[in-house]
């Protein structure tokens, strides 16, 4: 066993151990996802997860940080994200006060002033810089969420950070992480991410789970639900995914729906209760309209039939 990997805490030692670790925190992963997660920890490479919305891409970062006892640092991407909100910013107001104070004290040494002003305590650290800092619990988990929403310029900036785990600040110098953080990048594919960035990562496409796994997920995440209802819920959702919807429901929607039904004390799926709660599953009016009348009856009949 490689001792370097174990020195920074209890990283799982095999794919099975990884699977167990995730399961212990209520995340029922496919073996393939556990494999790439394990690899990314062992190889110190960022993990790039792509897939439809609501299949649990973000969740794995949260689970990982909780299970390993590491700090979770989250960078939510959006168009227009720039260095001052992703990496660092100077606290200019405080700096200005410091200059005035120095003046009032009759301090005229410019070099001294400059090194005082651009010191650690006037720096506001944003997620990427925070992730490079050493932490007593071990390197943190850095979640770069929905990278497809940021623009290409930011993506290019990430290249340097992700390959060397360091940031250069002109007034301050280079900040390098003593141990690279665990990086999880997610994308919903609203645009393609450049190959140069993907090349530095392990890539994995997260798919919708199979019926069996989804059933297990529902049972774990919605504890009070009856066996019959959970089975019907999963069958119904799986049938919806086979249809030609604008937006198919993800696992997150399945859990929402199961929770909603369980809150309403539903025992089994009926046209009435499904009609009332369909908004938890389908998020486009066109899709909901399509799921009415005969179409709904048919899916419902398949989902509730005993076999």
């Amino acid at each position: 066993m490689n001792s370097a990997a174990n020195s920074s805490g209890a990283l799982p030692a095999s794919v099975d151990a990884m699977l167990e670790l995730l399961t212990s925190r209520g995340y029922l992963a496919e073996r393939s996802l556990a494999t790439v997660t394990y690899l990314s920890l062992r190889m110190g490479r960022p993990l790039f997860l792509e897939g439809e919305a609501g299949v649990g891409k973000t969740e794995i970062a949260k689970v990982l940080s909780a299970a390993l006892g590491r700090k979770l640092i989250r960078l939510q991407c959006y168009e227009g994200l720039d260095v001052s909100s992703a990496v660092y910013e100077w606290n200019s107001a405080a700096q200005m006060i410091a200059i005035r104070m120095a003046e009032a004290a009759g301090d005229t040494d410019r070099d001294q002033l400059s090194s005082d002003i651009f010191a650690d305590r006037y720096m506001i650290k944003r997620p990427l810089l925070q992730a490079l800092e050493p932490d007593v619990a071990g390197p943190p988990v850095l979640l770069i969420d929905e990278l497809d929403r940021a623009d290409e310029a930011f993506e290019a900036y990430l290249l340097e950070i992700l390959s060397d785990f360091q940031v250069t600040i002109p007034e301050f110098g280079t900040v390098k992480a003593p141990h690279p953080p665990i990086v999880i990048i997610t994308s919903n594919r609203t645009r393609e991410i450049h190959d140069a960035l993907k090349r530095r990562c392990l890539y994995h496409w997260v798919d919708y789970p199979a019926a069996e796994r989804e059933l297990a997920i529902v049972k774990t995440r919605v504890p009070g639900i009856s066996a019959k209802l959970s089975q019907q819920v999963v069958r119904f959702v799986q049938a919806l995914r086979n249809q030609d919807f604008y937006k198919s429901p993800g696992v997150a929607e399945t859990i929402d729906w199961a929770t909603a039904l369980s809150e309403l004390d539903a025992r089994s799926l009926t046209p009435q209760v499904v009609g009332d709660t369909l908004g938890a599953l389908l998020k486009y009016q066109d899709d909901i309209t399509r799921m009415q009348g005969d179409a709904l009856q048919k899916v419902l009949k398949d989902a509730t039939s005993e076999n």
Binding site: S32, Y38, L39, G80, W90, S92, R110, R199, W205
Partner: protein, 400 residues
């Protein structure tokens, strides 16, 4: 053992196998660099390579960087790592896509054309005439319908299209850069400069918004009824793809094909050749409604997310015109910044929207323009380079 030729103790053969597999993937059209091979070897050292599915996932995570390649990878993996077979024989039988087999030769057509040019046999008299007529010829060329051009005129028009430059229609982004006339104060830079004077602020530095061109998405109809126009439009789209960063091009007839990557190639002939190689339904029927449905479902969220301008180039002659067509047009219209329909049928002076399909589509476009000669393409470029009013849509809707 399931994958005997991956046995770790035979390091040399193990490396050979990974390299061979990477080559097979490359031959099948996947971009696999040497860095990935090294990654693959180090990754396989930390997992149990007796477990075939773990090996699959591991190699997939390293070699596949696009979801579209997952299928190719799966096939290649199954072929390559089939149990108890000589892998070298397998390598030869990995099916190569058509493209990889015979690469279109760049400029082959132009070379041919150059060779078959008539020699300079015309009499000097003719040449004089040509010179006299050249200015008005240009004017005629500007107004002439693409469908009625001779081969020579088409090549002249192609050259004109290539010369056209699309000025950048600018979009303000939320990012900032140094700009002496900017509206925002650059405190960081101002403060740094003030240190030179011991803390007195003399120069105020400013920031302005970064501007960038709006993305353009072109949906080009390549059905039989459009065949006289498609080549020219493709040239036009190639010219703007070359000059601009965010341009996506889709071709549709009975099915939708994304040719953005093919058009990225520098040489227009090579780009057009690989474009036509990737399309199966060239000059066939039209299924606008189905193609738009596919676009809306698979691509709209990916290419329209940043305020794109959509150019729909089609004559709108759809046989299956029903409410679905109107529905898909409406969805497309709602997910882009501006929907411009370019229709070569508009060349006819008394054009009326009589065809069922056109009637269905018309209420959902922001602009309806002719595009059948050089001057109409020039006008289109002028329109595209004008700044876009941010909330123009509601105005147009209420006026319609």
């Amino acid at each position: 053992m399931a994958i005997n030729h991956l046995a770790p103790e035979q390091t040399e053969q193990f490396a050979d196998n990974i390299v061979g597999f990477a080559r097979a993937l490359r031959a099948a059209g996947m971009p696999v660099g040497p860095g990935a091979v090294i990654d693959a070897m180090s990754a396989l050292q930390v997992i149990d390579i007796g477990n075939r599915s773990d090996v699959f996932t591991t190699l997939e995570a390293i070699f596949v960087k696009r979801h579209e390649h997952a299928q190719i990878f799966r096939q290649a993996f199954n072929l390559f790592f089939r149990a108890s077979e000589e892998w070298k024989h397998m390598l030869d039988s990995v099916p190569l896509p058509e493209q990889a087999k015979k690469k279109p030769q760049a400029g082959a057509r132009r070379v041919q054309e150059a060779m078959s040019q008539p020699r300079m046999t015309e009499t000097p008299q003719h040449q004089e005439q040509d010179l006299r007529l050249s200015v008005s010829d240009k004017e005629i060329l500007q107004k002439k319908d693409f469908a009625q051009m001779s081969a020579a005129e088409i090549s002249e028009a192609l050259r004109a299209v290539e010369r056209m430059h699309l000025p950048q229609a600018e979009l303000l982004t939320r990012r900032h850069q140094r700009d002496p006339r900017g509206l925002r104060l650059d405190l960081r830079r101002t403060l740094r400069a003030s240190l030179r004077t011991g803390g007195d602020i003399i120069d105020i530095h400013r920031l302005g918004r970064i501007e960038k061109p709006a993305p353009i998405v072109a949906l080009l109809d390549i059905s039989g009824s459009m065949s006289e126009y498609t080549r020219l439009f493709l040239h036009f789209l190639h010219a703007i793809t070359d000059a601009r960063k965010r341009v996506s091009v889709f071709l549709f007839g009975t099915r939708l094909t994304n040719v953005t990557r093919a058009l990225r190639q520098r040489d227009p002939d090579e780009a057009l050749a690989s474009c036509s190689a990737s399309v199966e339904d060239w000059a066939g029927g039209t299924r606008i409604s189905a193609s738009l449905h596919n676009f809306n479902k698979l691509w709209a969220r990916r290419v329209l997310s940043q305020g794109a301008i959509v150019l729909l180039i089609s004559d709108g002659l759809e046989r299956e015109a029903d409410s679905r067509l109107a529905f898909e047009m409406d969805r497309l219209h709602r997910s882009c910044r501006r929907l411009i329909w370019l229709n070569p049928l508009l060349r006819f002076g008394g054009f009326e929207a009589k065809a069922q399909g056109i009637k269905m589509m018309l209420p959902h476009v922001d602009e309806f323009r002719p595009v059948h000669n050089l001057s109409s393409i020039q006008e289109l470029i002028t329109t595209l380079s004008q700044p876009l009013p941010p909330h123009h849509r509601s105005l147009i809707r209420s006026a319609a």
